[in-house]
Symmetry: C2
Subunit: 344 residues, 2 copies
DNA sequence: GAGGTTGATGAAACTAGTTACATATGTCAA
DNA sequence: TTGACATATGTAACTAGTTTCATCAACCTC
């Protein structure tokens, strides 16, 4: 006898409620989904049974019928950089307007990890994916190809990408920054950037700089994308025999780290060296001096990606890529390089 | 060219695969779950059918049988404060070790929003919840009571809470900070804190300060928890006729904002005023001067919360509360207040 | 009073998997 | 040669909902 232990009351289901209320399962289902069509007395009877049995409909059983799980996944390199946190915040905010929840998974910029986590998300029923950048593992492409799950690339704009991309042109953004420094008369520029390996955004930004074919001197320093990384990179730059006129950081976190690094070396920004970032984090506006940067519209990107993905899921129509403009934000960390005869 | 995918023939299911491979559904299920017991030829036949039909098992159908959806939800006030981003990163990392995904939802510190989003998470099948702080809406408590979903409170330690709490003692953390400033001889302290409304962590920190019954002078300034909020609070403090010896910020982001605010007012830290934070974000270690703070073990908290929740879900045994210690990190933004006769 | 319409409800089929149990075949020992 | 057992597979019941279709009573119309 599989006798039911009354203390081990396992979760009540729709049949239990129907029995308790003395109605059919169809009626209980109606009470849940279209209470308007149920007679008042019946409605109350059923609602009482639902309350008594503490009945909570099973999400899985609903999903099996509707074919909808109502959540999507986002794969970002890290949460530690505020740029992704801001993007995700906007993404989540907009998705919830369409009744979609967001599962966040971090990849640590590792393509294997990304493929693995994507598999996990699909396995648990994600209806769509938001990914970062254009480079992905073969297994990842396989997975998407097999499942045909709506997938949108962000932080990258490229019409020829197999996935719809919603993002900015990383090359152009970096060029915008460099052109500004050039316009200010700087000739020797140190570029501080994050790891190039597996990061096509950084790669695109760097190649954008080189494609300008500028005749000034560019030296590059690779470091971790973090405040500490910026501070460390500064040490390397400061120890050189030839000092740069300007330092261009391809991420704002790094720029702030460099600012701190320069300050602890007693080097004044912008008097002794101009400093520029790229991202436009809130910290850049508030820092002293405030940091000139290129604004990347990550909140807009989150919103647009959410809208596009939600629509893709509901209409089955693949969205068009969207290019978002990055623009220059001039602040106090950059000044015109004084010509030789302007000095004392 | 937003046109309908021509391959819209609805997804193949297990029955389709069984038919295509000429076997029963049970055999297909075995191929998926225990391929070892299936004869090699059959296995290959079925795998070919799976590949041909691009069959992907339905997560919902699996969930309905196993009763498991393999994801949990976390409700945090915001992603914009790195303290939560760091916590979530650790939480997600550890959960994925137990095969659990994490849905992140932000509440903007609004209890109604929290209750609503919690409902959404339960509706889509979350197996557990991680929440922030001890104060929640009545509907939220109702929901948890009805569903009996494993729920853990973080960022707060309190043995008498209806939910198991895994966190630090906010009162003690704030007291640790204040005691340090007192020990350094400061007598007039400005305390900058985030919104008190609906934020029991801030409330606890403030009441911790008052409960010390110190005979020095404490003035408080409420502001938004952000860099900008810190900068704004600074303006208010600087405009006072009586200047404080030290400024204690109950969040590190705010402390950095205050540092910037002081710098732009030409006030030197720590020479003219000592500055202290609470959280210990990476920025506090790298800032110039580096900011003295109280370290809150948020990564450990994420890990412990993940472990406890995963265990609760699998064993049905409610975990014990865990108190994590906060400790003082002395850096360069605080110095001993010089006695009157030390001057000049 | 027959026929039509509306409203409320129920029986059973349906979603897409897993799994308990039954069955068929093959191997080996008695 | 037969029973015992393992191996491989199939049948059908099961998970927990939604939905279609049928039923029946009440009311209205002609």
């Amino acid at each position: 006898m599989t006798q039911k232990d009354p203390t081990l009351k396992k979760r009540a289901n729709l049949r239990d409620v129907a029995k308790a209320a003395g109605v059919s399962v169809a009626t209980v289902s109606r009470v849940l989904n279209e209470p308007g069509v149920v007679k008042k007395e019946t409605l109350e009877k059923v609602q009482k049974a639902i309350a008594d049995l503490r009945f909570v409909p099973s999400a899985a059983a609903r999903a099996i019928n509707s074919g909808r799980t109502r959540f999507v996944g986002a794969l970002v390199p890290t949460l530690d950089n505020a740029i992704f946190a801001r993007f995700l915040a906007a993404l989540e905010r907009r998705l919830s307007q369409d009744g979609l929840s967001l599962i966040v998974a971090t990849t640590e910029s590792d393509l294997e990890v990304e493929a693995e986590k994507a598999k996990g998300l699909v396995d648990i029923g994600a209806e769509g994916l938001i990914i970062t950048g254009a480079t992905h593992a073969a297994e990842f492409h396989d997975l998407i190809e097999r499942t045909r799950i709506p997938t949108i690339v962000t932080s990258y704009f490229d019409v020829s990408n197999p996935f719809p991309t919603i993002g900015y042109d990383n090359k152009a953004a970096a060029q915008l920054a460099l052109r500004h420094l050039i316009k200010l008369g700087h000739r020797r520029i140190a570029v501080v950037h994050g790891p190039v390996h597996n990061n096509d955004r950084t790669q695109a930004r760097l190649s954008g700089l080189h494609e300008l074919n500028w005749d000034g001197e560019i030296t590059t320093v690779e470091t971790e994308i973090s405040l500490r990384g910026g501070a460390e990179a500064t040490a390397r730059i400061v120890n050189r025999s030839v000092k740069p006129d300007a330092i261009l950081c391809l991420s704002d976190v790094v720029a702030l780290g460099v600012l701190f690094g320069l300050q602890s070396n007693g080097i004044s920004v912008p008097d002794e060296v101009s400093l520029m970032g790229l991202d436009d984090l809130p910290s850049s506006a508030v820092a002293v001096p405030s940091i000139t940067t290129v604004h990347l519209p990550v909140s807009t990107m989150g919103e647009r990606a959410a809208i596009a993905l939600a629509r893709w899921i509901s209409t089955q129509e693949r969205p068009e890529p969207e290019r978002l403009e990055a623009d220059l934000v001039e602040r106090s960390s950059t000044i015109r390089k004084r010509a030789f005869d302007e000095y004392g």
